[in-house]
C-alpha cells in the first residue's frame, strides 16, 4: 500500500476476562482522505470484528458517545481528524472505567483526571 494512502491506527485492546493489562495493536486503514478517529475505529472493527468500539454519533460533535483518548489526549473521536500517512494511538477515555478495548462505561466515571475532554 502507498504509505500516503494509509492511516496507521494503534488501538488499545483489553478483555477483562483474559487480560491483566491492556496492550496496543496496530492496524492499517486504507484511505485517500482524512478520517475522524471515530470513523477509523469503525473501520478497524470492520477489519477485525473482535475489536470493540462505539459507533453511534449525533453528527454535531456534542453527544460524547465517541469520547476516547487519542495520542494521549482525551478527545471527541468524531471531530478529531487523522490524515493519510499519519499514525494515531487510540485508548479509552481517561475519565471513565473501561468495559472492553476502547469502550467505556459512562455510568462509571473515574475520579477527576488531569484533563477534561476538549
Amino acid at each position: 500500500m502507498d504509505e500516503e494512502q494509509v492511516i496507521t491506527v494503534r488501538v488499545y485492546r483489553y478483555d477483562p476476562a483474559s487480560d491483566k493489562a491492556g496492550r496496543l495493536e496496530e492496524h492499517k486503514v486504507a484511505s485517500a482522505a482524512p478520517l475522524s478517529v471515530m470513523a477509523l475505529l469503525a473501520r478497524v472493527h470492520e477489519l477485525d470484528a473482535t475489536f470493540c468500539c462505539r459507533t453511534a454519533t449525533c453528527f454535531k460533535g456534542r453527544c460524547g458517545s465517541c469520547l476516547v483518548r487519542a495520542d494521549g489526549r482525551d478527545v471527541f473521536g468524531c471531530t478529531t481528524l487523522v490524515r493519510p500517512g499519519e499514525t494515531v494511538t487510540v485508548e479509552p477515555h481517561s475519565r471513565f472505567a473501561v468495559i472492553r478495548d476502547v469502550v467505556v462505561d459512562f455510568e462509571r466515571p473515574l475520579a477527576a483526571g488531569t484533563e477534561a475532554a476538549e
Binding site: 484511505s31 472493527h45 453511534a56 458517545s65 481528524l81 468495559i99
Partner: protein, 552 residues
C-alpha cells in the same frame, strides 16, 4: 444460559430516545415501576440526538388544532390515520410546554413568548426549537428519568426479542453488554420505542443503531406493520468526504432568501430549478440526475452556495453546531462544494398503533418512530420530535393501565426458547464477514428501494434480503464475554435483512406513487385504490402483505 439475571417491573420501555424517555416518565408518574432499557448509552446514542430540535405545536394565537391536523393530512398525502393526526394536533401544545417541566428549554422571542417559525406546509407559525437541539431534549428527559425513583435505567442492554406469557407480551430478553450475560426483563406491559431502520439504506443521516430491531421484534411477535415502504428521504445527505458521510447540509438553505445556492452536476450544471421545488420533488431531481450518471466521483452531486451574494449576507445561518461539525472535518460549507445525495432520514411506517400506542398484540405498545401511520407518505418538519412526546406519553400511560390489570408473566418455555436462540448463536469462530453482508444489503436497499423504485429493483432487494438473512442466521460468533459487539452486529444484521424484506414487499404491493414512495413503473397517484395502508404480518410461510383502510 440457565441462571440468567431477571429484572421485574410493571412496565418495560425499550429504547431511550425522545419517545422512550417520555413513555417511562408517564408510566412512572402514574405509579408504575419501570425498566428503561437502551442498547447504547442513554442520551449518547439514538436518533433523537440528530434532530435539529424543532417541535411543532399549536402555540400561535391564530393557529388551531384543526389547522395543524389539516396540514398533517395534506402533507402526508392522505395516508395519516385521522384519529392519530387529530390526537397529535390536539395534544402537541401541552406536551411541548411540558418538556420545560422536565428541564428542556424552548427558544423564546424578545417579548418572552415562544419563538415560532413557519416552515413549508405549515398554515401558521408552529415550530419552536428546543435549546441544544435533539441532544438538549434527550439530555433533559434522561436526567428527569434518572431523578424518578420508579425508573430503573439499564443502558448498554441489547434486547434480542420479546417474550410472551399467556398470549400477551410480558417483557423481553436480551444481553447485558456491560456484564456480558443474558437477562430477562419481565413486565406486565412493554413499550417499544426503538426508532426506525434507516441504516438499511447505504445513504442515510442517522446513527448506526437504526437497524429496525424493535419493529422486527414486534412483527415476530405477531404485530401488524403498516406502510413499511414509506421512508422519508432527505435530499442533501453528505456522501463525501468519508468522515462526514451521514451528516447533511440543509436543502432549505438553497432558497433564494436564505443562501441562494443550488446543487450542481459534475459538469457544473445546476440540477434544481428555481424557485426551489418542495423537498420531496427535489429529491427526485437529484436521484434522477445521479441515475443519469451526472454525479461526481463518489456518486453524489455538489451542494454549493459559494458564488451567491445572498450566502455572504446570510453566512450566520451556517454558524450552528451542525456546520461547526462539518468545519471540524476540514470542509467550509460557505465556500466548498459538498458532495450530497438523497438519503434515508425518517421511517414513516412501522408498527400499527391506535392513539394509545396499542399494537395488535396484547401487552405490546409502540411509540414513534417505530410506530407508524400518523404522518402518512410525507411528514411536516418538526413533527418527528412532537410525535415522540405526544405518543410516548400516551403509550406510557396506556401501558401502565394495561399492566395494572394484566398480571402477565413470561412463560418459562418462551424465555427458555429466546435464551436458547441466543445461545445457539455463540460458540463459533466468527468466520462470517458480517460487514460485507451488511454492505451488500445496504447497497441493494439504496439501489432497489431508494428514491425511485420499480418492480425489478424491489425484487432484487427481496432476493438479497433473503440471502443475507440466511447467512446471518447461520453465523456463529465467539462467546466473547463483556460487550459482545460481534453478537450485536449479527443480530442487528438479521433484523435489517428481515426489515428489508418487509420494505420490499410493501413497496411492491403499493402500485402507485405517493409522497416519498415513487414507483417509476407506476408514476401516478391512485386514490381510487391506494388511499390505504399497506400491511405486513408474519405467518408460518413468511410475511403476508395486504392493505387496509386509513382510519378516519
Amino acid at each position: 444460559m440457565s441462571g440468567a439475571a431477571k429484572y421485574e417491573a410493571d412496565v418495560l420501555v425499550v429504547g431511550a430516545g425522545g419517545a422512550g424517555l417520555r413513555a417511562a416518565l408517564a408510566a412512572a408518574e402514574a405509579g408504575a415501576s419501570v425498566i428503561l432499557a437502551n442498547k447504547g448509552p442513554v442520551a449518547r446514542s439514538g436518533v433523537t440526538l440528530t434532530a435539529a430540535g424543532g417541535l411543532q405545536a399549536v402555540l400561535h394565537p391564530d393557529d388551531s388544532p384543526e389547522l395543524y391536523y389539516e396540514d398533517i393530512v395534506r402533507c402526508g398525502y392522505g395516508l395519516a390515520d385521522g384519529d392519530l393526526a387529530r390526537t397529535l394536533a390536539a395534544e402537541a401544545a401541552d406536551r411541548v410546554r411540558e418538556t420545560e417541566r422536565y428541564g428542556a428549554r424552548l427558544m423564546r422571542d424578545a417579548a418572552g413568548g415562544y419563538a415560532l417559525g413557519q416552515f413549508p406546509g405549515m398554515a401558521r407559525p408552529r415550530n419552536v426549537f428546543v435549546k441544544g437541539g435533539g441532544i438538549g431534549l434527550a439530555a433533559a428527559l434522561a436526567a428527569a428519568c434518572r431523578r424518578q425513583g420508579n425508573i430503573r435505567v439499564v443502558e448498554d442492554f441489547f434486547v434480542t426479542g420479546l417474550v410472551k406469557g399467556g398470549g400477551a407480551v410480558a417483557g423481553a430478553a436480551g444481553l447485558d453488554l456491560k456484564g456480558g450475560a443474558p437477562a430477562l426483563l419481565a413486565a406486565g406491559a412493554t413499550v417499544l420505542a426503538t426508532g426506525g431502520c434507516q441504516w438499511l439504506w447505504a445513504t442515510n443521516d442517522c446513527p448506526a443503531g437504526t437497524t429496525g430491531d424493535g419493529i422486527v421484534y414486534a412483527y415476530r411477535a405477531g404485530a401488524e406493520l403498516v406502510d413499511m415502504e414509506m421512508v422519508l428521504f432527505y435530499p442533501s445527505v453528505i456522501v463525501w468526504p468519508p468522515s462526514l458521510a451521514g451528516a447533511f447540509v440543509h436543502y432549505e438553505f438553497l432558497a433564494p432568501d436564505v443562501l441562494d445556492g443550488n446543487v450542481y452536476d459534475r459538469a457544473g450544471k445546476p440540477v434544481l430549478p428555481k424557485p426551489l421545488p418542495r423537498r420531496d420533488e427535489a429529491m427526485l431531481f437529484l436521484a434522477r440526475a445521479i441515475r443519469e450518471g451526472r454525479g461526481g466521483p463518489h456518486g453524489g452531486l455538489l451542494w454549493y452556495v459559494g458564488d451567491s451574494p445572498q450566502a455572504a449576507a446570510n453566512a450566520s445561518r451556517l454558524n450552528t453546531l451542525q456546520y461547526d461539525y462539518i468545519r471540524a472535518h476540514g470542509v467550509e460549507p460557505a465556500t466548498d462544494r459538498i458532495e450530497v445525495a438523497p438519503g434515508a432520514h425518517y421511517l414513516l411506517g412501522g408498527v400499527h398503533v391506535d392513539a394509545d400506542g396499542r399494537t395488535s398484540v396484547p401487552g405490546l405498545f409502540a411509540a414513534p418512530e417505530c410506530a407508524g401511520n400518523f404522518d402518512g407518505a410525507n411528514r411536516l418538519a418538526g413533527n418527528g420530535l412532537t410525535a415522540t412526546q405526544v405518543f410516548g406519553a400516551r403509550a406510557g400511560l396506556a401501558a401502565r393501565r394495561w399492566a395494572a390489570g394484566s398480571g402477565a408473566r413470561p412463560d418459562e418455555a418462551a424465555v427458555r426458547a429466546e435464551f436458547d436462540r441466543l445461545a445457539a448463536r455463540l460458540g463459533g469462530k466468527g468466520g462470517t464477514d458480517v460487514a460485507a453482508l451488511r454492505n451488500r444489503l445496504r447497497a441493494a436497499a439504496q439501489e432497489g428501494a431508494g428514491v425511485g423504485r420499480d418492480a425489478a429493483g424491489l425484487g432484487r432487494l427481496a432476493q438479497v434480503a433473503a440471502e443475507v438473512r440466511a447467512e446471518a442466521a447461520a453465523a456463529r460468533v465467539p462467546a466473547a464475554g463483556v460487550f459482545n459487539q460481534q453478537l450485536v452486529d449479527v443480530l442487528e444484521l438479521e433484523s435489517m435483512a428481515e426489515a428489508a424484506a418487509l420494505v420490499a414487499g410493501c413497496a411492491l404491493a403499493r402500485t402507485e406513487t405517493r409522497g416519498h414512495h415513487v414507483r417509476e413503473d407506476f408514476p401516478a397517484r391512485d386514490d381510487a385504490n391506494w388511499l390505504r395502508h399497506t400491511t405486513a404480518r408474519r405467518t408460518a410461510d413468511g410475511p403476508a402483505f395486504g392493505s387496509k383502510p386509513v382510519r378516519p
